[in-house]
């Protein structure tokens, strides 16, 4: 792959900031102008990302150095096949989330702050996706925490404040570990630029113990954001945020940036060969398997709608990490594919949950018997998302599972197979009853007189549900080539 220099990555980070500045100038009452600005800035960013994608599809890696503080320490963007997978997924979903927010946030307080932060956190996410070295990634990682904090405490209740503190503490704690690792890596190698296959091949000979410790620090630093147990508890707490935040940031952008960072560390800093030498994968694999199963079991126990989805997210993020940990091409393929598939499926589920909460005001699953009569389209979309995560064909989730299972066999880790299958069953146990009770239980809900939810909420739900099926049927024309590029690039 050849590199070209282009300022496109910078624009993808700058445009949302410009949009946010404009939003901050628009008075609180002019919601139409604000919505439009938000939509335009997010769409423009998405266009930029698509332009970068076109370079990537021509086998070109896009690079851009913004500032060089000292040798090896620079703000440096480098969009490789892995970065673009995360970037394109997040930026497309941002458009859906903005449209959905227009409906969800209507008539709520402090909309200006909400949209401002919502747009600006896109800038941070793009920065994480396109960062070319650990330093840049760390900067944007912390920036993302700051940008999303006002969204978590949006309701400004006591509970929200408490959750906000937890959120900040966990994320900055993780950030601190990354910073520490960054310093040591700089000391040992002199730089921390991401390169496929790793940069530590030479250094590992002399600093084996140190680099093993650093590995755990940096992985757990990112893992905190990726909600690996036992560092997950900020995520359920953050469910106090409005539904668009939960759906986009806490099912896609923030948590996936953690997972994405882990993948960067595994394949672009350490590399499979070094990892085989320092023998740390097994410890991590046990943690991830634990996360998958316990996350699922906790999801079963929670009856608050968004909490159940949050624990399901924790468990599903484990799938992605597991795929990356297999250190085989097929396993990585499954994991990266699941970044996209899980993003689409989980955001659909969260949007549905948000719509139900917004329309009925009920947050507990047990109160939602018969909701299928009031909100049939929403609940059908929910069924699509749930079945997709269970792995039913032809909804996209089956494909990631197919590759994850194959990868587990390739890596001779039959335990993973058991974990994945058991987790599928648990997925079924916590999603299907919601759908069944929605349609086949008596409830207090009546047929809607008008549209079941505002169009700005219903349209994203329906389109996303269709995309989920489409990504299953036509994955070989859409998601799979992107992921294939990643695997070819890394191995």
């Amino acid at each position: 792959m050849q590199s070209i220099t282009s300022s496109l990555p910078l624009w993808s980070v700058l445009i949302p900031v410009i949009g946010a500045i404009i939003i901050s100038r628009i008075p609180e009452k002019q919601s139409r102008a604000r919505n439009l600005t938000a939509l335009i800035s997010v769409s423009a960013t998405c266009v930029v990302v698509v332009a970068i994608l076109r370079h990537l599809l021509r086998d070109e890696v896009v690079e851009f150095t913004l500032v060089r503080f000292m040798p090896g320490l620079e703000l440096f963007f480098r969009v490789d096949p892995l970065g673009i997978v995360f970037g394109i997924t997040a930026s497309i979903l941002w458009i859906f989330a903005i449209v959905y927010s227009m409906g969800y946030m209507a008539k709520q307080h402090k909309q200006r702050r909400f949209f401002l932060c919502f747009v600006i956190s896109m800038s941070a996410t793009m920065g994480v996706a396109f960062a070319g070295n650990l330093f840049t990634m760390y900067i944007f990682f912390e920036y993302l925490t700051l940008a999303t904090y006002p969204l978590v405490i949006h309701s400004q209740t006591d509970e929200a404040t408490r959750s906000g503190i937890k959120y900040i503490a966990y994320c900055f704690g993780g950030g601190g570990m990354i910073l520490f690792s960054l310093i040591i890596l700089h000391g040992v190698v002199g730089h921390a630029t991401f390169a496929p296959g790793g940069i530590l091949d030479a250094a590992i000979v002399d600093h084996k113990l140190l680099l093993t410790v650093v590995f755990f620090l940096v992985i757990l630093g990112f893992g905190t954001k990726g909600a690996i147990m036992p560092f997950h508890s900020w995520l359920p707490a953050a469910m106090v945020a409005p539904a668009p935040v939960s759906s986009l940031l806490h099912a896609v952008a923030v948590v996936k940036s953690g997972i994405f960072g882990m993948t960067r560390v595994l394949y672009f800093l350490y590399g499979p060969e070094v990892l085989a030498q320092i023998n740390v994968i097994n410890v991590l694999a046990v943690m991830v398997c634990f996360t998958i199963l316990v996350g699922s079991i906790l999801a079963l126990r929670h009856t608050v709608f968004k909490m159940r989805l949050a624990y399901s997210t924790i468990s599903q993020l484990g799938y992605i990490t597991l795929g990356a940990l297999m250190l085989t091409p097929v396993g990585l393929f499954g994991g990266i594919l699941h970044i996209m598939n899980h993003a689409m499926l989980k955001i659909t589920l969260f949007f549905c949950a948000g719509a139900v909460i917004k329309i009925t005001g009920k947050t507990d699953i047990r109160e939602l018997n018969g909701i299928g009569k009031r909100m049939p389209i929403t609940m059908v979309a929910f069924a699509v998302g749930g079945l997709g995560l269970i792995g039913v064909l032809p909804i996209s989730g089956y494909l990631s599972k197919f590759y994850l299972l194959s990868g587990a066999f390739d890596a001779d880790m039959v335990v993973f197979v058991g974990v994945l299958l058991l987790s599928s069953l648990l997925n079924a146990m916590y999603y299907l009853p919601i759908v069944v009770n929605a349609f086949f239980q008596e409830g207090e809900f009546d047929k809607p007189k008008d549209l079941e939810a505002p169009l700005t909420m219903l349209a994203p739900i329906v389109i996303l549900a269709i995309i989920c099926v489409g990504l299953g049927l036509f994955a070989h024309k859409t998601t799979m080539p992107l992921v294939e590029n990643v695997v070819n690039y890394v191995f």
Binding site: L393, K401, L405, S406, F409, V417, L432, F440, Q441, E442
Partner: protein
Amino acid sequence: MIQETMESIIPLLMIIIPLLCGLAIFFTGSPGSGNNTIKDVGQAQFKDTTSSADSRSVPRNILLMISTLIPFGMSIYLYSFISQGMVVVSKFDILPPLGLSFRVDILGQYMSLLFTFFGFMLVLYSIGYMKGDPLPQRFFGFLLLVYGGSLGVILAGDLFTLFLFFEFMSIMYFVLVVHDATTEAVAAGVKFLFMTIIAGVALFLAVVIVYREAGSLALDTPGLITTYSNLGLLAFIGFFIAFGTKASLFPLHFWMPDAYSAAPLPAALLSSAIMLKTGAYGFIRVFYNVFGVEFLEIVNWDFILMLIAAFTILFGSTIAIAQDDIIKRLAYSGIAQIGYIVLGVALVTSNALVGGVFHIMAHAFMKGCMFVTMGAVIKATGNRSIRKMKGVGYQLPISMLAFTIAAVTAVGIPPFNIFLTKWHLSLGALDINQLWLIIILLISSLLNAAYYLPIAYHAFLGHEEGEHGDAAHHGAAGHHEKNEGKGWAEPSPAMLVPIIVLALGCLVFGLPIQNWPLEMVEAISAMLY
């Protein structure tokens, strides 16, 4: 043997047409301007069903006819090619990683003829039976989706396509089970749904392993897996769980009696005549295309399946005797009958396979006939208890005559079709020197006689116990109560035609000179050996 192949889009059309019609039916609306809630089910059934001026039922019935008759016609059309030894294939570039592919050989053709024919009978019968249902568009819509899915299973050209339709069919069937939305129905439905998910996960695992071991999933070779490995055994277990659940073999059967008794009767018929058979079909494909006969002879996994099948036969029959609810008795008897089919596959001899595959058809006619006649009885009297069915033959002479034919068929005496099943199964058992299986078959025949013949006998010769008024409590068609049980209560032609046709089927495909299902089955056996 290299077979001539023919590219054709027809297999896809056979599946797509029912699916699209099923979707279209959702938009035909429900009677009574859509204000019915689920609570109204009972009241709706008490309405005078004859005058239900439901203008929307006409387009719905047309859609139902189209979606079953056209695939039936296509299946007959394909037969003209396949009978000459051709194989119809088609492949579509969707659904990665392997693509969607269809492949119709003589086995798939035999199944598709059977399924499309029974699909038509089922639709005809359901139109009569479901009259007055508050949500017909949902019932018929999902009925067609299940039907289309089941066609997809048997026409699939690779395991992945098969898996797709297998899951689809099963999940859609869930809606039929819970159609009445009673507590019992939802409980049965959830049980069914979880068995489906477990089966789906098991099948998924098996498919992944086969793909990994063999690098292909196409069902056109006599054995994808040819070397022993632990993973291969795991795949075999996965297939067993998946198809065994669907076919309701012994340890995996427990969803079925509950689902049958909770679902509307046509849904039970659909499962018995069509959906269950996809499980049996899956076993055939696993034995002959995935693992291969020679391989199985070496590793002997088939022996375990044979024991399970034999036990299932005895188990189902024994439990069936104790059931008083006619639907439950039919369900447990169905478990025993599916044991015959799986036994035919698991014996891995040419003769036994003929018996097993022939039984797919024979059982569909026999059990189908029992379901439709008992549906007529339940609809007319509202009674599902066998003890209270004495003298019902005076009310429904044609139906009960048909039931009698089916009952005698089930026992397996010539000239009825199940005799041929048992004959070939016995030959197969002799081929591999397992004489005890013949004794099991004989015991099963006796048990069949013990639980079916008394129903027929009491229907015509028994005396009523003067409690016919109970009918009203059961909800369905309570106005027959006034007839004192002596009046003519045969159902409408839409229901009567399937009853008669299925009863004739039991007889016609027994021992005539030109028995073309048997010829097809022999061709299938010749192809697989």
